[in-house]
Structure formats: C-alpha cells, structure tokens
C-alpha cells in the first residue's frame, strides 16, 4: 500500500455512512456522520463506472470549486476520498432547501425573512464572484438551509471560472426558469450578471410564493420574461439582436412591477428591478446589491435562527380509541370462527349489522 492509498483509507475510516437520502443522475447521496464527533454529514457518492470518459464533468467542477470556497453561505466540502472505483464527496449536512420552505403553505413569510434570505444569497454569491467563480445554477432548490437557519449555496456542478480572457462559454446552463435572456439568446461571452438574474427570480419567487417566470420551453421562457418585464428595446439592451440565437417572440408592453408585487416595499422593488435589467452590464452586481438601501431599511433582516423552517414531523391521531369502540360491540367473538370458508360468508352476512350498529 503506497502513501496515497494509505491516506485515502485513513480518510475513508473517518466518515460513516448511515442511510441513503437521495439519488441523482450521476450521484447517490447518503446521510452519515463523522467517526469521532458524530457530526451529521452528507456523503455524495459519484458513480464513475458508467461514464466512458472517466469522471463526470460536474463532479470535477464541484470538487474543484468547493475545495477553494469556504464561506458561511456556501456549502462546505469537508473531505474527498475514493472507495473502490467511486469518488466520495463529504459535504456538510443541510436538512432543507429554500424550495421546500417556499412550497410549505403553513409557513408565513415576513418581509424581514425574505430580506434575510436574499441577503445571505447575495453574500454567498458575492464570495463566489470575488473568487471569479460563476455558480450558473442558482434556484431555490440549490439554496440549502442549515439547521441554524443559515442559507448556503450548493450544487457547484455547473460552476465555472469567469473573466478569463475571451474563452467561449456554454449558454446551456442555469435551470430554465432562472435563466437570463442573454443565455436564452445563446450568448457565449457573459459574466457574473447571469447569476444576478437568477437571484432576482428567486427574490420574486420568495415574495410571490410561486415561480416568477415559469416558461414551458426556451422560446416560451423568452415570451414569459417579456410578458412580465416588457420586450427589450435596442436602447435598453444594445446589440441583443445580434446574439447567436436571437429570435423575435413578439412585442410586449412593460407592465409596472407594482401590479404584481402589491405588498412589496419601494426599496424591494427597486432592487428587484435592478436584478432584472436586460442589459447584463447594467445589471446590479452582488457587491452593489449588498450595499442596496433595501437591506439597510427597516425592518432589519430576520436573524437566521428565527427564520421559518419546514416542520418534518407529522402527527398521527391515536388509533386505540377506534378499536376499543368496535370491540365494545361484542361481535368479534362471533365473527372469528375457526372455519375459514364459513367465516368469510358469515362476515358478509354479518356486515350489515356491524355497519348499522356502529353508524346507528
């Protein structure tokens, strides 16, 4: 056993798998704990064998960037080890995501809650951007919530470095509903503004409690965006008609945001508006957003520990009482005669009385 293998097996022993909690296309996620401290962790086992070209690209990206990023609002990669032919990522365990919270109708969001979540999202994103990393898959599903309420950016499977001199990038990134128009138009040179658009959509979704721009296809996505925000003009977004996949999807007027977000404060709408500017270079940056008056205005952002959480427990009513009631009728003995055949007929015959008696 050489030094590398020895190191690997030592690391492997540190982490214990408990149970499977999810499965994706290229990975299985297990809940586990750290051997010494019993700290809860998640182990993401990357399936290697199925891919001809070796490791899946997203696994490489995830390891590459998460090894570098350590921030309160970014998921922490604790360790990486291999077992047999699999690659295992040890991540901190986070029990819920923002999508679950948005969909939980029993939760009520205060304006300060939304402010807190958006601020944490921007903080995590600013950290990625300052390290020249684009997340490229921001959506409520990928914003995980720790047990202490902190929000963390996760799933760096589509992340990429940016601001390198002039390499083409793919436009086939970001879940459609959160994808900015420049990517829908097939832009191959873009920047951090793509993530800001996604945050804008998430911000709107937090206020509406339903996805803000749910398009059925890529073309429909453009239509949905323009219907909500008006068609871009050449002054608003110079050069967009020259983008590779430019299509015309019809002219739509620009309705005021206030019509949809009736309860939002003026500051909130201003920030939302700046996140959803068509011209990517004019779109607010994460750093600027964190200095936006919305975050400084009252009410203060909710302290993370007080943010609404999903309740996973479900109460089941006690069954004993029902059973007791029926047994009290004193028919049980009569029904349980030893002969199976007779019993089934007898039951049918007796049934009417039971129902009549218990409903009676």
């Amino acid at each position: 056993m050489d030094a590398v293998e020895q190191e690997n097996s030592e690391r492997q022993k540190k982490w214990l798998k408990d149970k499977k909690i999810g499965e994706g296309t290229y990975a299985v996620v297990y809940q586990g704990r750290e051997a010494g401290t019993n700290r809860k962790i998640a182990i993401k086992k990357i399936k290697v064998g199925q891919f001809k070209d070796g490791l899946d690209m997203s696994a490489i990206r995830e390891v590459k960037f998460l090894r570098e990023l350590k921030h309160k609002n970014v998921i922490e990669l604790l360790d990486v080890f291999s077992a047999k032919t699999n690659l295992n990522l040890v991540l901190e365990f986070l029990d819920s995501d923002l999508e679950m919270i948005i969909k939980d109708r029993s939760l009520v969001f205060l304006p300060s809650d939304i402010k807190s979540w958006v601020a944490m999202t921007f903080r995590g994103l600013e950290f990625c951007h300052r390290n020249w990393i684009l997340h490229r898959d921001l959506k409520p599903n990928n914003l995980l919530i720790a047990s202490d309420g902190h929000l963390k950016l996760a799933d760096f499977g589509l992340a990429r470095e940016y601001a390198d001199p002039g390499y083409k990038m793919t436009h086939e990134v970001i879940t459609r509903w959160y994808r900015p128009p420049e990517l829908l138009y097939g832009a191959k040179y873009y920047g951090s503004a793509v993530d800001i658009w996604s945050v804008g959509c998430i911000f709107a979704e937090l206020m509406l409690r339903i996805p803000y721009l749910p398009g059925g296809s890529d073309i429909d996505q453009l239509k949905t965006i323009f219907r909500a925000l008006g068609s871009p003009t050449e002054e608003e977004w110079p050069g967009h008609t020259k983008l590779p996949n430019y299509v015309t999807v019809g002219q739509f007027p620009k309705p005021p945001l206030r019509d949809l977000f009736t309860a939002a404060s003026a500051d909130a709408l201003n920030l939302l508006n700046k996140c959803l500017i068509y011209e990517p270079r004019k779109r607010i940056t994460a750093k600027e957003a964190l200095h936006h008056p919305y975050f400084f205005a009252l009410p203060y952002p909710t302290h993370p520990s007080k943010l609404p959480k999903c309740s996973t427990k479900q109460d089941t009513p006690p069954l004993g009482e029902m059973d007791g009631n029926l047994n009290g009728k004193g028919r049980k003995r009569k029904l349980s005669s030893p002969d199976g055949k007779v019993r089934s007929i007898a039951r049918k015959l007796d049934f009417g009385q039971v129902v009549a008696g218990s409903d009676g």
Binding site: V108, H240, T302, M322
Partner: protein, 389 residues
Amino acid sequence: MATTRAGGWLQGRTVRKGGALSSTNATRSSTPQQVQSTSSTIYGGGVKDPSGRTAEFFVRQSMDDQCPVCKSDRYLNPKLRLLVSSCYHKMCESCIDRLFTLGPAPCPICNKTLRKLAFTPQTFEDLTVEKEVAVRRRIAKNFNKRREDFPDLRGFNDYLETVEEITFNLINEIDLPETEARIQKYKAENAALTELNVQREEAYVRALREQEDQERRERETRAFELQREEEEERLLRESDKRSIIDKLETSDKDALKVIAKAKAQALKRSTARNASNSTAQSSALLLRSRAAQSNIVPDVPHAPFNDEYHAYESMFSLKSTYNDFMSDAVRKDREGIMRAGGYMVEEAWERAIRCAVAGLDLSPLVGLDDGIPRLPGLDDSGDVVMASA
C-alpha cells in the same frame, strides 16, 4: 269633508307601506299589487333615503280612501292613487290630469297656484310630517355645516339653533318672507362650504356602499367555500363506505378490523384537513407569535460584508484601459456580441491585477510540519485577513 276623511286616516287604522306589502290581503284580489299611474306622467319627489328603499305610502285595505276633489274612491277606481301638492293637499291622478294638464291652475282646496309636476307621491300617512320632512330636506341641502367647520362648540350650537328656528318658521309659516331672505343670505355667504360638505357626504355614502359590497362578496365566497367543503366531505364519506364494502367482499380479514382501519383512516384524514384549515386561519396568529419571538433574539442591522476582503482594494488602482489583446478583440467586435452577452473586458483586467497583488501583504507560510496544509492568513470564514487589520 275632505279634511274629515283625511282625519280618519290619522286615527290609527291598519295601514301599510306599499313596498313592504306581502300578499296576505286576500280580501280583494283585484287590488293592484303595484302602484300604477293612470297617466303617463311620472311623478318624482317624495321622500327617499339614500339607498332608495323608502316606499310610497298608500292605503290598501281602506275602502274609505277617497279623492277629496272628485270624491271617487277605491271601490269605483281600484287604481286610485293620491298625490300630494306643494300646498300639501291630496288629489287623485285623474283630477290632476284634468285640472293641470293645460298649465298652472289654482288648487281646488286652497287656491294656491299649482303645477302638474309639483305633485309628489305620499310617503307618510300624516301630511304635516310629509311637509316637515320636505322642509327639512330643503334646509339640510344648504345648511350642512359640520362640527369641524366651527372653532368651538358654542358656535356650532348657535348655528344649529338658527337652523332649527328657520325650519320651524318654514313649517309653521311664520314670517315667511323674512325667513326666505335669511336663507338666501346664508346661501350666498356659504356657497363654497356647502358645496364642499355635499362632496364630503357623497364620498361617505360611496365608501359605505363599497364597504357593503365588499362584505357581501366576502359572505358569498365564504358560503360557497363552506358548501364546497361539505360536498367534498360527503363524497369522501360515500367513497369510504363503498370501499369498506368492497374490502369486506374481497378480503378475508376480520371484518371488524377492516372497518376499524377504514374508520381510523377517515378520522386521520378529517383531522388532517381540520389542521390544515386551522393553520390557514391562524396565519395571523402565527404572525403575531413570530413578532413576539423577535424579542428573544434581536435582529441585527444589515452589514454588507462579514469580512475585510474589500479593504485591500485601496492598495491598487485599475486603469481605464490596458494594452491588451482582449481589449482589441472587444473593440473589433463591431456587432457588440461580446458586450451584449455581458462580457466585460474590465473584469479580466481586474482579475489579473487582483491575482497579481493578492497575498503581497501576507506573511510567509509557516508551520507546514503539522501535516494539515492550513494557510495562516485565513479567518474562519476563509477570507483573507489583512496583516494590517
């Protein structure tokens, strides 16, 4: 003669307001249910409340109802309808048509000149009440000052006193020319304020009506919701019953157990539904409890960054342009494809500069011998800590 008849009315016989009448008076089925005008003239006026609900007064059951002028009564003319003149005398529609169609003519009772259109339907049984109401309406139209319009209560009370005096004079016809002059004087002096108060009153009425509408809509939605829920519950119960029967037929488990299980399930479902209903209803309560909770852990004001990363930006400055092949590429990109996508060559420059200067300020790595490669210049959030900080 006519006055004794009218006096007879005042003696408390059963009278009804036309609008509130139900069809209980089966004694004369030929009595019209609706007041019908014998002529084509539509008489306006009378007393109406803002909602228009006040109805015309007329006597239905009384056969004694008689026109003081032509003496025709309800027996002869079932459609008899008596209207009131501006001098507060009654006569039937046919008399009005006969006497006043050719223009103004004197009242057959008091000789005051009357016009056909000045006749109004009767609202009150007692004509003195009718008169008083009409006078008060007229006065209230002009004398509509409110308490707010006076600096003190004394002034307001004096004003009310004056209004009452004028009203009394008009009703009892005391010093009529002088009273009319007073009204005219007041009108001229207070035109603007009167108009303002009229508008205020209208706005109030409108708001009231809107509120009523809103409440009615809410009631309707609630009722509909309730009905829907009940229907759902009924369907569920039926399907439960059917499924019990099916199960009892097909399975050979103990009948009581099957029923008990089904019942338990139904109970579980209904409690779950109730719970979800109550959570929806108690969202306000929840908000209140959230508000109470906020005192335990105080919310802190927003701080843009929790580290000092941007502090070292003062240690370098970016130029507006660099001699770089990428800037050429962007400049040559005449169609602006790179720019339209949001690519910024400035970011590439900034990144290069930052990479060049980052860490210049850090002390050299030490302590690699503990086996864990840990950079000394990182705080717990992993951000670079400035040596100067």
